[in-house]
Amino acid sequence: MAQLKQRYVLTQSQKMMVFILSMSLYGLSNMITELIPSIRLGPIELSVEYFAFIPLTLCILFHPFYAAVGAALGEVIFGEIMLGQFGGLGELEKFIGFSLAMFIAGTLVNDPRNRRQVGVAAMMGVIIHQFISCAVDIGKVWIGVEEFEAVPGLAQSVVVVEGVAFLNDVLFSGILFALLPTLYLVPRLYGKIEPLLGMKPRNNKMKYSLGEIMAPRLIVVSVILAVLAALAEFLAESDMALVEWDADFLESIGSWFIWVSIGAAAAVACLTIWLLVRRGKRSGTAGTGI
């Protein structure tokens, strides 16, 4: 019985391995996505935001905390510092939001072989991450720029614009570059990659305790850091009236355009789910490719 409650413990060097693996892989993918050009069709931006499947896969297969922090750090180092795009304190907010989202996604799965769990976790990871960045963006306008409140209806339109961006990111980037590749990679790598790092595959009998990782000091520090980061963001971008033009743009084009975008995204989502279900029925336990 004692074995059933065995915690997911890693030695110092195993933690380091997971950390380095996640950092270098996600960093590399960031470098690649940085070089892929994006296509903008009005408010819909068809771009490869990030290869979210890499941190998601690693968080599901290994200890989520070290994989998530490693990936976030990899993004900052390879995608920002090495390319000279380091934005100072504003990066802190990105770092915290991203690692938090990936960590939660990783903890949602307790059996990497369970396809449904993996899929739900992948989508949740993307949704949480996009939601955090969206909320910060909206907050930036709401709190940071007072004179915007004088403009009637602006606050609402900012929310609408951000909401559309959120849906686009979740449904386009989320499905194509998070859900499908994660569903493809996790079952293939499970049991194969762990021996390479000298550890046992994660199984559903093992529990890792949140209490051990989230020591009170860490929580306090991260809350303070998060508040600082948000403040820095607000200060930093209070006079970057980027959203203003977006709002103008939306009003002039008419709200029907939002529905076109949402409709397109929904159609893609439905098609994907239908294909998945059909494929799943036909091939039973065989893998779901992309």
Binding site: Q12, S13, M16, M17, F19, I20, L21, M23, S24, L25, G27, L28, S29, M31, I32, P37, R40, V48, F51, F53, I54, T57, G70, L73, G74, I77, F78, I81, M82, L83, G84, Q85, F86, G87, G88, L176, F177, P181, Y184, L185, R188, L189, K192, I193, L196, L197, G198, L235, A236, E237, D239, M240, A241, L242, W245, D246, D248, F249, S252, I290
Partner: protein, 274 residues
């Protein structure tokens, strides 16, 4: 899409790899590279943050000029400058087109220029600081100002390993292309080709993840053999490792020079605005 292909022909993976190595190790003898890392961090603390709060055009232009000079002094590779310009231009250009189409007109150009200038000042400051130091120096400097050892190790490791990782990824990508069948027609707006390439880009990660896992294990074993975890907890080891860093006259000259320049700029800006 035609221009993308032309661009791709010129920017080969080999070239990117060489550029990266060059950025990391190629400019160890510039003036900036010989400064103490802490001096550069201090300098960055001002030039990376202050521009957000500056609204005077004269001041921004002055800082912009200074940073162009420091960026040139740090001899950054054209690739990084290219990425910087592309990013700034595409953002500003897009905003300008949108605002112009919907009744912005001439008066939106000035704020946009100002914003672009701010962004470029900040980006150039980070390029100057982070690209002029070689990775060992950067990571030691970060360690000295109290950043966790994993981070500083990550930076050193990243700079060293990235070129070989890029190469490996490229090989896998090419072998996927070699063994697969490219779509016969490009389709509307090249969508077939785009989907094909994106699919390969994702699939190539599967072998890469496995091989990097192997590599990581070797790295960590080598680290442990050198006593990495022990040194992590030992303040004495850290002190010895970082004892070579010290401020010199060069650092003083650099900081004083920049400070004087900024003060003069402030004076100038105050006079012009009156």
């Amino acid at each position: 899409m035609e221009y993308v292909r032309k661009l791709m022909d010129r920017v080969s993976v080999e070239g990117v790899k060489i550029e990266l190595l060059n950025t990391a190790y190629g400019n160890g003898n510039t003036f900036l590279a010989k400064l103490d890392p802490r001096t550069l961090f201090l300098w960055y603390l001002y030039f990376g943050i202050a521009p957000w709060f500056i609204h005077s055009e004269v001041l921004l232009l002055g800082m912009f000029l200074l940073l162009v000079v420091t960026t040139m002094m740090s001899r950054v590779s054209p690739l990084i400058i290219g990425i910087l310009c592309l990013g700034l231009l595409s953002q500003a250009g897009y905003l300008f087109i949108v605002s112009w189409l919907f009744g912005g007109g001439g008066e939106t150009i000035l704020p946009l220029l100002k914003l672009t200038m701010k962004l470029s000042v900040i980006s150039m400051a980070s390029i100057t600081v982070f690209c002029s130091m070689d990775p060992e120096k950067l990571s030691d400097g970060l360690l000295r100002i109290g950043v966790p050892k994993q981070v500083s190790f990550g930076i050193a490791y990243g700079y060293r390993m990235l070129p070989s990782l890029v190469e490996e990824y490229h090989h896998i990508f090419l072998s996927f292309r070699l063994r697969g069948v490219a779509p016969r027609r490009h389709g509307l707006l090249y969508w077939r080709s785009i989907v094909y390439f994106l699919k390969i880009a994702v699939l190539s990660f599967y072998p890469l993840i496995l091989s990097i896992a192997k590599r990581t294990r070797t790295t960590v074993e080598a680290l442990e053999a050198k006593g990495f975890s022990y040194a992590y907890h030992s303040p004495e080891a850290k002190r010895i490792k970082l004892s070579y860093m010290k401020f010199t006259a060069r650092d003083a000259v650099f900081l004083l020079g920049s400070g004087l320049y900024v003060v003069l700029l402030h004076v100038l800006a105050a006079q012009i605005s009156i």
